[in-house]
Amino acid sequence: MQRIGVFVCWCGSNIASTVDVKKVAEVLKAEPGVVISENYQYMCSENGQALIRNAIKEHSLTGIVVCSCSPRMHEATFRRTAESAGLNPYMVEIANIREQCSWIHKDMEEATEKAIILGRSAIAKLKLNAPLTSGESAVVKRALVIGGGIAGIQSALDIAEAGFEVDIVETSPTIGGNMAKLDKTFPTLDCAACILTPKMVDCAQNEKIDILTYSEVESVKGFVGNFKVQIRKKARFVDEKKCTGCGECMQKCPSKKGLNDFNMGLNTRPAIYIPFAQAIPNVAVIDPEQCLKLKNGKCGLCAMKCNVNAIDYTQKDEIIEREYGAIVVATGYKPISLENFNEYGYSQYKDVVTSLELERLMNAAGPSEGHLVRPSDHKEPKVITFIQCVGSRDTSGCGKPYCSKICCMYTAKHAMLIREKYPDTEVHVFYIDVRTPGKNYDEFFRRAVEQYGVDYVKGMVGKVYEENGKLMVQGADLINNEQVVIPSDLVVLAAAIEPSPTVRKIATMVTASIDTNNFLTEAHAKLRPVESPTAGIFLSGVCQGPKDIPETVSQASACAAKVIGLLAKDKLKCNASVAHSDETLCSGCSVCANVCPYGAITYVDKEFRLGGGKTELRRVASVNPAVCQGCGACTVTCPSGAMDLKGFTTGQIMAEVDAICKR
């Protein structure tokens, strides 16, 4: 017979204000097997844990039930407490009477009754618990960073700095991401390239960092400490080792009509190109959709002109397989498509541009070499109107329900830069709210208004239309309670940002959870913001939620710290709650092996005695406990009930259900 201790936590007033904790402790004391039942204000505090430790020793307890918050919060704490008092940590059960009881109920009597039932069910489960011991698995001391924007770059640099090897996998031909396209950065107005490109060069020169550009993650297998990843290195038709980045091929290429992605399609580029002057690696790439040689076999000019024979039209995609201990997702963002916002005329008028396009128009390396001109006639705009919240904070279904967070600041930046460089230009900004929390942020925005005379109009734009060669911006001025029409030369839309479209595929591959807006979910919104709930997967940058550069860099470094913490370990304690198969019941059907996301199940041929001296050779499932993560998928798929999960056996779950249903 087990000797069980029950410990009911008040959680200050979190539990105690809706649940009669004393009554719960009293009633549960009468349960068969329970020898001691206590209640205390904060069970997780040092004193609370001492109370548990003393009770375990004094009453020779064989198992404990803690009625407290969610096991996600403090199960690990109480397991450690039990272990330090000499009890097996898996002889601890948590009854969640906070999240699943006190926080969601108002009636004290009913909540108390429910808390008692939850306690009983935990006791019923505990009676079937068996002490478990965890195995160990080795850690591959190498990290994978998916995405080579500023987030991925910073994470990779920090991980490499600690002495671990890192691979950056980037889909485009260069690292740098969105930040490389920006002109200046707020709130200090230093040039984006000046602060980003040294970091890119650091990555390229760091011996610990391997940059795989023009590459995509193809598949991910394994688990924390032991991921096996396949990476597709797309054919760039240029030998990376030979190409010197001289750019001669770009001059000679006759097919020059490709849209220049780096300049947001505002100008064209040849079929063979280097995305921008400071690209890393500084190596050309051929667009196979555009190259005449690859399309119809006629041309080959670039190969003729190349001094180092780097062009290779026969190059094929290559699959690289590598092992990693940790994976950082840093897939970033893109501005939303504006097809649902015809009222602003983006698809109709050339001089209605997005903010990212404006960055290129203002950038010295952009299509107009930093001279701000309108795309339609290349004339300097004299009146520029900005529209904020285009698709942000939109619950109508056209846009995104969240605030994109960066637009208020970059719009203030654009307005200020324009007024600084072209003082005779009139700048108007339509806004709903100006949101500028952050160090020196509000001061920055106020400078745009007070020092640079930018006209901020509180209200939204209803429509943009053309009249006499002007873009008429009609909107509400809510402060003056009037409708205004501003004849403008250039209209700039602060389009909402959304996670990169690749993130869904990546999230599925690494089994990381994702929210309704396709942002990756963190393990805990406040206390574990850079980790995914899936062990070994870490989040860096905008893939987790909208953020600006300073915040992205902070988060990228935080993420690296977590990765380093993991890679610094030689062995990881495995989960003790692993699956195992009852070989007498297993029919060898392979269903479990097919659903196992970790590849933990293999099949072995085993001899079984049938009696009367006869034997039978049967194929049965065998679980590798070092690989099994205890997800339980196999137990529910097994048609013969042979698979069971230690610590969560079918018998234990049924005992819990019985205890809940019994009155």
Binding site: R393, S396, K458, M460, G462, K463, G475, A476, Q483
Partner: protein, 128 residues
């Protein structure tokens, strides 16, 4: 009728939740009849949320709103200012049995650019 009751009725009939409004003013930014209105589309939403219905009942806007539903179409939060206006309009017509549009003047107002919604709304007014 009790004022509170009337506000409740208008809210109910409009089928719109004024609390969803984030006060961006896009409805008023888009409204083609804005300059003809004394109480603006965004104010209809704001007044009804505050329970101040008198200003709405006496407003000229009830007769100048085109019922073109541009405000409804453009609202980023799924609020429908035109529906509130229509609900208040019904309240006025029901109470007073009055009509400010003369049936014989309707044909000369019609041209092919007039939205169909407006005609329907106009006939609804004439019907009462």
């Amino acid at each position: 009728m009790d004022k509170l009751e009337q506000v409740k009725l208008v809210k109910e009939r409009s089928g719109t939740d004024a609390r969803k409004c984030m006060k961006c003013g896009k409805c008023s930014g888009r409204c083609p009849a804005y300059n003809e209105m004394d109480v603006k589309p965004h104010q209809f939403v704001s007044y009804i949320e505050k329970g101040d219905i008198d200003k709405l009942l006496n407003s000229k806007s009830l007769y100048t709103c085109l019922s073109c539903f541009a405000c409804v179409e453009r609202c980023p939060r799924g609020v429908a200012p035109a529906n509130v206006i229509e609900a208040v309009r019904q309240e006025v017509i029901r109470v007073q049995g009055e009509n400010k549009i003369q049936a014989e003047k309707v044909p000369e107002m019609i041209d092919e650019t007039i939205p169909q919604q407006l005609l329907v709304s106009m006939f609804r007014k004439l019907n009462k």
